[in-house]
Symmetry: C2
Subunit: 444 residues, 2 copies
């Protein structure tokens, strides 16, 4: 039996004692997962049963869309308290989900300090680093000793989202280095910060897009990345958990676009049917428009088809195979670009490799397929199929590798020209190759 | 001009002074990226110019396949020194890339301590947590004071891969809690560890698969996860950077399978053409076998085709659209499962949603397409196309959502039954729907 059914039942049977028991035995993350599956009113009932300190952990583990749903059914003082306790960057994400009126009311209820921190983040554009950085940090000076620095961390660290990476600044708050808490704890107490800090450091500007710094953090294994303004003055710190969330969203986008859909922007089960359809309709429409090319190509060769109706039997197999090889190339190249293994400069090398792979695969399939087709449909048809397979495969690999790279060059997300588009484009060209080959071999 | 061409040229012109200059101005991560693009002998030339402390950072940032290539062209004492300085888990990854003979020789050259640590990891199966955990950690006891704990961290912390999460154990090394370095630094010096540690903690067993704990770390924002044996005795610590690398590899696998290919297991440009083809051939072969169903279906309806040749013109458009909708459903559901938004228990809810979405999309496309098809091909053909589009879309959404979930139920990676397989399966069924509709509407 599903746990959330069980929790649901307990609530409906007024067995709040058992719900309470369950809440005490379950980790906040798992409670959050179950909560997100309950009806709105059930969510509120369960949440109110949580001890205060656990309530916040559970709330923080919820997706913004469920946080909002929950807040709407809680009482004013509870809402205010939770909202005040959130980290500024999580608060900003939640506000993005809310109608302007509600958001304003919540902001007005904040303490002046938290309101100020939140406004800073809200001032940066969506998808910029500034929007998800933590504006509460502990910064050190070059002249501090390690002991003084630890003293400062102990005094101001409680407020900061992370103290594992401590930016070092000059008097004008210009970033000049970074010290990890690890190095600080392991260093000699009397050593000056200037002697243990890393001067050669990564940083990012607050108005930059989130994806690149997030990838950098994963590649360089950084726990936190200092965020500055354009003059290099420290504004905040980007923590690894927020960076990983950015990458997860980017990867979802890449994966869904690779399947011909747009990310709906919230958990699957919370999206309405209508919104789900909308995230897919645009893509489908583009794809069906592209597919009308195949109707045109076939109309053009209608007489050939009429003469040798057997040719029509292989249309799906042929275009499927071409489409699959194109999709493979596109997927491989897009992923290699996403993880930084391949860049636009590698275009000629990549395309050359893919052409070879496509040719090799096409030849193999053509050779393997020749005999069975010959047995059932004769030597000539078998020859047409094998030759078409070879040429179509090669062309598909060429198109599949080149188009995403060209797209990235002109600033379009390569995932936009991924499997579905490539497949459809390759279909039309595959048909042309097929009928030209047939005309030639069969002498039509 | 490409940087690696420039570096290459400098080496060929014997302008090692400029290479040296470039090495001093560039971050280790970027040097590693350029190194991986150079020829084997060039790699060694550049690497030897690096100051010793930077050389190790650069080496650690390289992919195992490039590390191996580099080691093969360095002198014995250098190799030994680098190998000794690596973290045990990175060393294990590198050994996996090497021929057994070379691996043994390298292991024999290690100090007894490092050899022992490496053997521990090598004792766990591939893809298990034990293989990538860090066996060097600092553990605390419940009875320590904070001051004693910090003293212990300062004494033994240098060896550990992370000191940000400090496991607390009893005398038999059973894991009983965890303390973050953050809490340790911020706590009162006299407080006992038992009073500040978290008793409710996540941990993982060394022989478990890597993916689930890695996802847990991302969801719960954990910097490190304690690894135990089956009796709960502490064996090591899994750090977030290794967990993120696991997730990146898993995501690559999902993405490539979604495009009908298998991950080649090393960076794209380092894979041979032959290996690239091999990662795709199996899939293609399965897909082409599945596609022969379409030949059978069409053979069965050959007479209908012969009677109304116009029907053949729409075959690609119809199967493409069905395939696209099936691919969309499959991609959405697979991703939702991967990030934990949907589980097998949600099957009926998910399939019902997708059927509705498929029906809605099919109806829209059918209605939009009716007029243009009628204008060119007459009312009856238009009716056949619109009706087939609606039914095929609904069926595609059903198959696309259900198959991946059923696969996951029987322990098969859902990504295996993703877009390409779904597309091919939907093609055959779409053709059946198409010709049955045509027979009915046209009265054939």
């Amino acid at each position: 039996m599903k746990v959330h059914d069980r929790v649901s039942d307990l609530i409906n049977n007024q067995d709040l004692q058992s719900v309470h028991q369950w809440l005490l035995q379950t980790a906040p993350l798992d409670i959050a997962e179950q909560l997100s599956r309950l009806e709105t009113n059930e969510k509120a009932v369960v949440f109110r049963l949580l001890p205060k300190d656990r309530a916040l952990s559970v709330f923080e583990a919820l997706e913004p869309v469920h946080q909002q749903e929950l807040l709407a059914s809680l009482r004013e003082p509870n809402v205010r308290e939770i909202f005040e306790a959130m980290d500024p960057d999580d608060r900003t994400k939640l506000l993005d989900e809310m109608p302007a009126g509600v958001a304003k009311k919540l902001l007005d209820g904040l303490s002046p300090k938290e309101r100020r921190l939140t406004s800073i983040l809200l001032g940066y554009p969506k998808d910029s680093v500034g929007r998800i950085m933590s504006p509460e940090f502990v910064d050190l000076r070059v002249s501090y000793t390690v002991a003084q620095a630890i003293e400062r961390v102990r005094r101001y660290g409680r407020e900061a989202e992370t103290i594992y990476a401590l930016p070092v600044t000059d008097e004008q708050l210009h970033l000049v280095g970074i010290v990890s808490l690890r190095d600080l704890v392991l260093a000699n107490q009397a050593a000056p910060i200037g002697s243990i800090m890393k001067r050669e450091l990564y940083s990012v500007q607050a108005d930059e897009d989130q994806e690149k710094p997030a990838r950098l953090m994963r590649e360089a294994d950084l726990i936190a990345l200092p965020v500055t303004d354009r003059e290099g003055r420290l504004l905040g710190v980007l923590t690894f958990d927020d960076a990983m969330a950015v990458l997860e969203a980017e990867e979802t986008e890449d994966i869904l676009r690779g399947g011909g859909a747009e990310p709906p922007g919230r958990p699957y089960l919370s999206v309405s049917i209508w919104r789900l359809a909308r995230t897919r309709l645009t893509w489908l429409f583009i794809l069906i428009l592209a597919a009308t090319m195949t109707v045109n190509v076939l109309s053009y060769f209608e007489e050939t088809l009429q003469a040798v109706i057997t040719l029509s039997l292989f249309i799906p197999l042929l275009i499927d195979t071409g489409g699959n090889i194109g999709a493979q190339s596109a997927t491989m190249v897009i992923r290699a670009m996403a993880v930084g293994e391949v860049r636009f400069n590698d275009l000629s090398q990549v395309v050359l490799r893919e052409i070879q792979v496509g040719l090799m695969l096409g030849l193999m399939l053509g050779v393997i397929g020749f005999l069975p087709v010959m047995l059932f449909f004769g030597k000539e048809i078998a020859l047409v199929i094998s030759i078409s397979l070879t040429f179509t495969s090669t062309f598909a690999a060429l198109a599949g590798s080149m188009l995403p790279m060209l797209a990235s060059r002109v600033g379009v997300d390569p995932a936009v020209v991924s499997a579905p588009i490539i497949t459809t484009l390759v279909d039309a060209s595959g048909l042309i190759i097929y009928f030209l080959t047939a005309s030639f071999v069969l002498g039509l």
